[in-house]
């Protein structure tokens, strides 16, 4: 069994593809630097991430894939922490470089890239749906989210477009970072960054004067519009999975 070890970055993965073609040796499994290697690993290849190699592979993919297919590939990469998407991407890239067709959905890997990408697209949609801002005394709108994949950067354009005339912060609780929009652009903020001052005070909890009233109004509205005689909690959970409820004001 051929085992490749790389640094678990996207550029690292592209370097893996480069090395695989150079060595004419394709990985059966990929591991990160911190992972334990199996006892009977067979051949182990350690791949250094190199911008030049990654760049060549990327340009090669750009030449062979349509824009939607490239986007699917990048979306699929975002699922890497949960499902072995990196191994999938290597197989897919090998197929594409061998002249395979990006739209041949009878191939399991082509179909899998599409499916992983759709999972990411759904999670992105869930963010657009379920972000709930709370207005602070400073007039900043603040929201916490905990998406399954790292999709917060993908929704920035949506939120800067829609809420372009208000300052907002969206914080990813699962990954410990967020974005602060200061009326001109959205900047990434880490816990030790500048905008954390604002975030810190937010956690101390200084809501705007009528914030609690609007939250109460929203909760009452949520209860008022459901029709008891048609209750269907299963359907509700199907559309609005339970994992989002802790951060939804109407489900408190």
């Amino acid at each position: 069994m051929n085992l490749f070890v790389y640094d678990k970055t996207f550029d690292g993965l592209l370097s893996v593809i480069f090395e695989a073609f150079r060595l004419k040796l394709f990985p059966d499994a990929l591991r990160g630097p911190a992972d334990d290697l199996p006892l009977l690993a067979g051949r182990v290849v350690r791949v250094e991430t190199e911008a030049e190699k990654a760049g060549r592979v990327w340009r090669g993919l750009q030449n062979r894939l349509s824009r939607p297919a490239l986007r699917s590939l990048m979306n699929a990469w975002l699922t890497v922490a949960d499902e072995a998407a990196d191994e999938l991407i290597v197989r897919y890239a090998r197929r594409i470089f061998a002249g395979g067709d990006e739209a041949d959905f009878s191939d399991p890997d082509v179909l899998a890239i599409r499916e992983q990408s759709q999972k990411v697209a759904r999670e992105k949609m869930h963010l657009i749906q379920f972000v709930r801002f709370q207005k602070t005394a400073e007039g900043i709108f603040f929201a916490s989210v905990a998406p399954r994949y790292d999709v917060l950067p993908l929704v920035l354009r949506h939120f800067t477009g829609r809420f372009g005339d208000q300052q907002w912060i969206i914080r990813d609780l699962a990954r410990g970072y967020g974005f602060y929009y200061d009326l001109t652009r959205a900047r990434e903020v880490r816990p030790d960054g500048q905008a954390d001052l604002a975030a810190g005070r937010l956690e101390a909890g200084l809501p705007a004067e009528d914030e609690i009233l609007f939250q109460e109004a929203w909760k009452k509205y949520f209860q008022a519009v459901s029709i008891e005689s048609r209750a269907n909690p299963k359907l509700q959970r199907q559309y609005m999975p339970r994992r989002f409820w802790p951060l939804l004001i109407e489900k408190q």
Binding site: D101, A103, D104, F105, S106, P108, L111, M125, I128, Q129, F130, V131, R132, F133, Q134, K135, F141, A143, H158, G161, R162, F163, G164, D165, Q166, D210, L213, F214, E216, A217, W218, K220, Y221, F222, Q223, A224, V225, S226, I227, E228, S229, R230, A231, N232, P233, K234, L235, Q236, Q238, Y239, M240, L248, I249, E250
Partner: protein, 417 residues
């Protein structure tokens, strides 16, 4: 903002909940500098009620005072219920604050009929005007048109709103007259036609001048109440088909009648809302809009009503074994769409994938085809199941309904079926 407004919201949202339409799709508005909001054409649901319906818009009445006395309506004049009215400003503020917190996509506003239709319509338009002009609100607005309102007001509403709707409520005029003596279909079709002409005219204008004003860019919709009167599904679907046909309407909504005024003996006795029937009608509606089915095909069975046990496409397929089997490697997209268990997405994938190679049953399952249903209606490469023509429609029906789940353990099982 104060507790009075919350109290009003509770009453008026409760009064509006039986109007099923809540979609925010069909219009796209780019974000504007200095304004709040945009609209995305695919629509966004921000929450889901305990009955599993999408909450996309702040759906409320401006007032639930009403001078009409419609038998099917919870807000009818004779009912002793709490009544309330928003002021224009209260509602505009509530909308904008909900919107800024990402609770909603916009506003869906309707109202009980106050003094007269024009007076009521003027206030509805007033809310939209305030939102667009004072608050620079650029999100989604859906306004209900009050039957009988003047054309000037409907026109102004169309300039502010993304979507307009006029509810037909009861599918046939005779039944409408019986249940709602103050209403008639004429007062619904008149604004519907007026809106249709304006939408068409605005689209025509905008082909010449990009800056020409948009009129209700997300089109218009209507709602039919199902089960409050005795129309059959055949009547309902052919009415819907004629509305889609012209093409006047973007959507027809079907609302299973929730028995609200049980004391009124003009209404049929119902224990609960006919949810299964409502679901089948929506499936039939989808077949008409996305699967090239005609209303007559969907209801060409012996009974004028849809089969509640089977989805309408499967029911149709069982009545038409001569259409099958469909060859997934050869037949065109439209024939693929006729196969039960095949949707627009999987049919599209099949057409794309078969350019590269022959399709087998395993491929189809991966593409999202529901093989349990589809397998008896197709041929593909590899091992195949018995087709409808070999099993016969009656036995196949029993087979799909049985679903393999319920069986008598004392009975001999025949695994080849």
């Amino acid at each position: 903002m104060n507790h009075d407004v919350i109290k009003k919201l509770e009453i008026l949202a409760d009064a509006a909940k039986y109007d099923v339409s809540c979609s925010s799709s069909g219009a796209s508005r780019a974000a504007k500098r200095g304004a709040v909001g945009n609209a995305v054409s695919w629509g966004v649901c921000h929450s889901y009620t305990a009955d599993g319906r999408c909450i996309s818009l702040l759906k409320t009445l401006l007032s639930n005072h009403c001078r009409y006395d419609c038998a099917y309506c919870v807000n009818r004049r004779g009912n002793d219920i709490p009544r309330a009215s928003f002021t224009v400003r209260e509602l505009a503020e509530l909308t904008i604050e909900f919107y800024r917190r990402n609770y909603i996509e916009g506003l869906f506003l309707s109202s009980g009929v106050l003094r007269n239709p024009d007076y009521t319509m003027e206030r509805l338009v007033g809310v939209a005007r305030e939102l667009r002009n004072e608050y620079r609100f650029n999100g989604y607005v859906h306004l209900k048109t009050i039957p009988g309102a003047s054309e000037e007001l409907v026109h102004e509403a169309g300039l502010y709103a993304d979507r307009l709707s006029v509810n037909l409520e009861i599918p046939t005029e005779a039944n409408l007259k019986a249940l709602a003596p103050e209403k008639d279909h004429q007062s619904v079709y008149k604004p519907m036609n007026y809106i249709y002409r304006n939408i068409a005219a605005s689209a025509e204008e905008r082909r010449k001048f990009r800056s020409a004003p948009r009129f209700a860019p997300a089109g218009q919709s209507t709602q039919l109440i199902i089960g409050a009167s005795r129309e059959t599904d055949r009547d309902i679907l052919s009415l819907a088909a004629s509305l889609y046909d012209q093409p006047k309407l973007k959507r027809v909504y079907y609302s299973g009648f929730v028995p609200v005024n049980a004391y009124d003996d003009r209404l049929p006795p119902l224990a609960s809302a006919p949810l299964a029937r409502e679901n089948r009608l929506y499936q039939a509606d989808w077949l008409m809009r996305f699967y090239d089915f005609a209303a007559e095909e969907i209801t060409d069975g012996e009974s004028p009503d849809l089969d509640l046990e089977l989805d309408p496409k499967l029911a149709w397929a069982l009545r038409h074994p001569e259409w099958f089997p469909v060859d997934v490697n050869r037949d065109d997209y439209h024939r693929l769409l006729r196969v039960p268990g095949v949707g627009t997405r999987s049919a599209g994938l099949m057409v794309m994938a078969r350019r590269r190679g022959r399709l087998q049953a395993g491929h189809l399952a991966k593409m999202g085809v529901v093989m349990k249903r589809a397998v008896h209606f197709i041929t593909c490469d590899g091992p195949r199941a018995a087709t409808i023509n070999e099993i016969g429609p009656a036995r196949l029906r029993a087979l799909v309904l049985g679903g393999g789940k319920k069986y008598d353990p004392r009975q001999l099982r025949l695994p080849f079926l």
